[in-house]
Symmetry: D3
Subunit: 313 residues, 6 copies
């Protein structure tokens, strides 16, 4: 079946999609309508449902899969759906929401294999045990969570994909700069964003949790390390554990970006660079993929609204 | 016996003092000398010990109490000691370093009584138990530690004195603004700087510990709360515990001042103001005390080098 | 009679309200309509008046009281009025605009009594005479003006209410920190925003005056002090008068917030903190009052768009 | 007689100079010495007076003129005096301190003539009367005061010289941009820094006055305008007077530079540019005058430590 | 024939205008409409063309001249056109787009004469030859290009008009400050923005070119100077050429405004001031021209949204 | 022969060293002395030469090689030389200054081989030709110049070493992120700092050249590319050349760091990260090499005075 973004402007269609958001509003004529945001693996698109009955308002809520008939349209340059009719997906039809969520293009097995390889690079015993413990506890979420609500790697599996891209860069740096400590560098990278499994609600309709808002993923990771030590029976005042906490606490590089301490280890400084660089490459590539050679991308918010040019050669 | 700052310029004296710092340097003539910083409860003063022998270098180290003979002198406007002779304090003489450390002027019993009163204001059960647990664990340090290495309340007992001044302001705000939650406000204030018992080495020759530098007192407190819950058997994911952590994590008010999250509770915002205001009053008062009416203080570093005027009336 | 914000969504009503603003716009069909903002003591609400005749446009202007029939509605989450009919309030009906303006919830007599008490704390003769003179001159406005056009205490009586909340905090600080000069502290607080009686037009449809825009309330107060001295016959070059001017000139704390000089008196520094803290508490409390426990407020513009959480306990 | 900066390195000399500063310090050998700063119209130079007796310390104080014998020397790249002997200037000798203070190179009569011409450009009656009144009151100081303690035009007469250079630029702008209001532009320029006659102590050993520190010259000027109106009998609430106050209040261009309001008149904006530009040209020219073609100047503090190149052509 | 901004609100009209922009959008009823922006020498105005056929969409594109019948209307305070009918301008009618572009009000001959005069002030031979060469190469564009896409002097001829206003100020400064080097000052001003002939596409529908975006007009000018030297046969490593490049590279005054080096010549510093001042005067005057005495202008974006007051006298 | 930093504190020695700097100063006793900075490949160390004769001042100048006898000493924690005697190196002795300049530890042949390999990655013909042309022209300097006067890679060969470390990272990124354009990435890296061969004077007593100060190495590279095109006969307006210029112009990442344009190509953004990361690793490693495990480094100026911890494991 066709995906949302494969349909051409003006074309008629009937496909299954996930309702990502459904806001009730009042039209100028005083009647309520529903502002839908539909989603499948090709992306998200808006559509207005005019003159909705109370029953329809209750039926079509965020998180439901629906069979949608309509026409692909454009409003002020942005593609949207002109809804003709819709109904809930029934048993026997593809009604599992996870089928419609955007995912990274790498297989989970490949990411797992890369993670296993990476764990072998951690030679300091305390760090190795703590990292393995936390991976073990968060495994399910680690491979399913996005790396962010918006911005970069904001799709299912984004967290592990981003983490393991960083590991690839780090492996190479270890060979160029032998002075780097592999346990702190690789251990720090694997854990650096793993607090997002607590900070964010999950891959479907991603939201910040209360704990995520009140503590931030950076302090959450430090807490996870402390608790893991207690569970394994490692003294959390060991220098190696303390420095592992430091590496994750400092990885945003600057206080104004939410790190409570500045990097005071070479590895903390480097993780900050790798993290930032991989995020930027991901963000830019995503918009470049939707841009023609010889054109500029739309403004990229997280790059201070810069536009990036796609060369012709 | 006279104190260092009671001796007049040009006066001869013989008193016991603590060696706060002792740096070995080489004079122009190639001979080593010791740059001393002496301390008693009236403050700290420098003195140069010329042509020191190796034995003397080994004998007179930081942390030792000595009987010092000399003359009060002035160098570029700053009082200093012209050393005539010195010897280590002997048994039977006042050789306890704590006798020479600057202390707050309030009695510990009074501070303890104020703390006990304040604890009664915390009505939420989880917060009450956690705060009492941590106070119990850090009690000795809480009443002895300074609130900072430099800047404000940088003297023995400064931590508890600063904390309880803040409690006084908070009690009053609770009566003006009944919408404030007393458990979060008073609990948050009592704990807000208690991580400094770990971040700083103590009242004598105060230094940052490795853990203090690598994690900062803000994250240390959050960790203390988490561990206290585990020891008492409280679920750390309780909203009240989460918000207590938030209040201490956010109390620096801005990320660039080291808070990993911005205040998202009214009480977090208010603690930031009370903390900042009490610190500023303490800093300014300290320099005003050494200033004549009708004059400006010296530049106050932590106020962006501002000078404060002391009115004549 | 019911107030605007007491009517439930979907409910029919007929009440008297004040027209706070009336903008003429053109609909898509080319006909003019009026975008009204109605107000009573419960707050302000929008409503569109379609296909207005020229006569209606002239009749229903800002500042007029009308009898409004309609239905309470919601547009994109914000309550609004679906207008059915309206007519001007007639003689004998409640047609005084001041009846519909939001006011502080404290009685004027209470505020006056608090002010009288506060004046007694000013012991320095020059400051006492100048403050009383200015209070005498601006009394009517002082108890009626808002403290701001938007942001905090933006309601009738807000200026005196804000000022006297600050006085309450200051009284307490005087007992905790005896080094504070009560004449400068209390005198400075009473005058600190009194220039707003000149800077702002009043409590109904509050606007900046030309003098307010061109000089700002901070310089206006300094000028009021200077003129009061001239009228009473006090030498304005007295140190106490000079320092009183300084305290008000410096009370915004930083030059980028409009103070032409930085605080150079302990009291100037403290007034800045009290002012800022009371304003923040007022702003946050106002939005928390409209928020359910367990929810976050909407973004608060003056707190850099932060959202505040309302605890469940 | 030779001037300080005309004497070559290593040369012996005997000349009259003014003692600009005389600090008493203690040498390594324990004996007091005087760190002098001598001044004549060619500039200022340091010199150490070793092993000073108490009598000498009392005799040679700042503000005294002395006959100084010594040798021109260099210390770390900076010229200094190696003192051989000194004595106070006696009656009949050139013992007037004003003879040794650096002055602008233009004759006072010329500046007075330029000022008279400029006053004629002010056509609005209220502004014309107020400006003339203030000039009349401050005339003696206006032609003698420096424009600053340090930085630009920091010499006797600098205030009027700087003001009248600005007038020259403004006259030209009036011909290029006829939309400029000459009364506000010229009146504003003449008054813009005249508060410095109150803010600074004078041309010899220039210091900030208490009023200068506590109010700043910007608010002082606004106050001078208000008082002048009262003395002449002009209503200070006239728009022309209000705008004149605005022009001087806003002339620093940004709040962080001490203006309590931002420029809201074209003339206020322009005065800010002219002021800044004339100050920069003066500062740069002064250091370029001491620089060889093909070389860079020393770092200029007020230009964020930039160095300026002096071309060879 | 009447101009767009000469027509009164509500008046019927039929005039020739240029289509500046034509965006295709979809109305609520699902039908496409064209959002036009029309332009003539009096300014630009919007108008909606409802229910456009595909043919009309293809016909009425940006850059075309049309005969437009309609009624002058207002939408939310902004003037707009209520379109009744339109057709393309035909042969014999005024169909040249350049007739409808806003132009400076000075005659090209006058600007050319001023430029010729200015060139005579450049006495250094290398600079004189390079400036004349570049003027010769870019002459057509220099007198036709705007100085900017938006902001100041954004109209045909704006580049030369802005440049020659700056020259007028500079001539005057040369007489007040004889230390200024006329070749660097005048040569630098003439070239300072001439890279905009490459950076911007032209006077009609002004856009940034790819080279303009990728290099910026500042580096483009430096390159033009280097190439001109090569073509004339001047050694580009001559100090005079190097300093001429510096003056244009540094003329934005600060790195954050796009200058790769800070001003290190007095002339570079001064050009920055003159440039900035003339731009501000132009921007402010343009909005003041549309403002009544006693009113404030609308917010001026490039002045950080400040509003400027137009005095009554 | 021993190197400066191999000699232990207190040890006697006699070795050849280069005089890096020789400042003449006057001692307290009025006699001149020379403040030397000696250098060999192990680093730089100060030493004072008391009571120098005029002949000695003329003899021992910066850039000369001398045989130095003395004792390794310490002054305020910093190692220094207590000079006993010195004489100029004679013919037959190791008197070539380049022998004493700190160099990168990699052989030039290896760097040349890496460069040759890297050039093969550039597949776009214009970029390939221009990069080879410029490498050919600057080859001698490219392998000898430092990458900076101070900060990172500030040693002979530092420019090529830094460039080729960046190439190693880039090669790896090309395999992780196939969307990167190798011609722009590798070509941009090779050229990104090559303007430093013009901006800096060389490896011995490195200073900025006049052209370096006035244009900056970033614009110089753009100019080198333009001239290379002209010499080879490539149209410099080709997109590939324009983008190559952009990549070097934008590589400082932000305008305030001296890039006249912000990165608008993915490769420009990435080069900025690689450059910054390699520089930071080099700076931190250099100070960590002089630090004991378990200690913090001294403050690193270019990291905003941060101190980096050297782990014990």
């Amino acid at each position: 079946m066709a995906q949302l973004f494969e349909i051409k402007n003006g074309e008629q269609f009937g496909i299954f999609v996930l309702i990502k958001a459904a806001d009730i509003r009042t039209a100028r004529n005083g009647k309520p309508f529903i502002a839908f945001r539909f989603q499948d693996r090709s992306g998200s698109m808006d559509g207005m449902f005019w003159s909705a009955t109370e029953e329809e308002v209750n039926l079509y809520q965020a998180g439901k899969v629906v069979f949608l008939r309509g026409k692909r349209d454009t409003y002020q340059g942005t593609p949207q759906v002109k809804i003709e009719s819709m109904r809930l997906a029934e048993a026997g039809e593809p009604d599992d929401p996870t089928l419609y969520v955007e995912k990274v293009k790498v297989k989970r097995e490949d990411l797992e294999a890369e993670l296993d390889d990476a764990l072998l690079l951690i030679t300091e015993a305390n760090i190795a045990r703590v990292v393995r413990k936390i991976i073990h506890q968060t495994q399910e979420d680690f491979f399913v969570h996005p790396a962010a609500k918006r911005l970069h790697h904001a799709m299912a599996g984004g967290l592990s994909f981003h983490t393991l891209s960083m590991v690839k860069i780090a492996r190479n740096l270890l060979s160029i700069y032998p002075q780097l400590n592999p346990s702190l560098l690789i251990g720090g990278i694997i854990l650096h964003d793993i607090g997002k499994t607590v900070e964010l609600s999950g891959a479907i309709s991603t939201e910040y949790t209360l704990k995520g808002k009140m503590m931030g993923h950076i302090v959450i990771i430090s807490e996870m390390i402390d608790r893991a030590c207690s569970e394994i029976g490692i003294d959390p005042e060991n220098e190696s554990i303390l420095l592992l906490k430091h590496v994750v606490l400092a990885h945003h590089g600057k206080m104004e970006f939410g790190s409570p301490v500045l990097p005071q280890l070479l590895e903390a400084e480097i993780i900050h660079y790798i993290d930032d660089m991989d995020a930027k490459i991901n963000m830019i590539t995503e918009v470049l993929d939707k841009t023609e050679p010889g054109e500029f991308t739309s403004q990229i918010f997280a790059l201070d609204r810069r536009q990036i040019y796609k060369p012709k050669f």
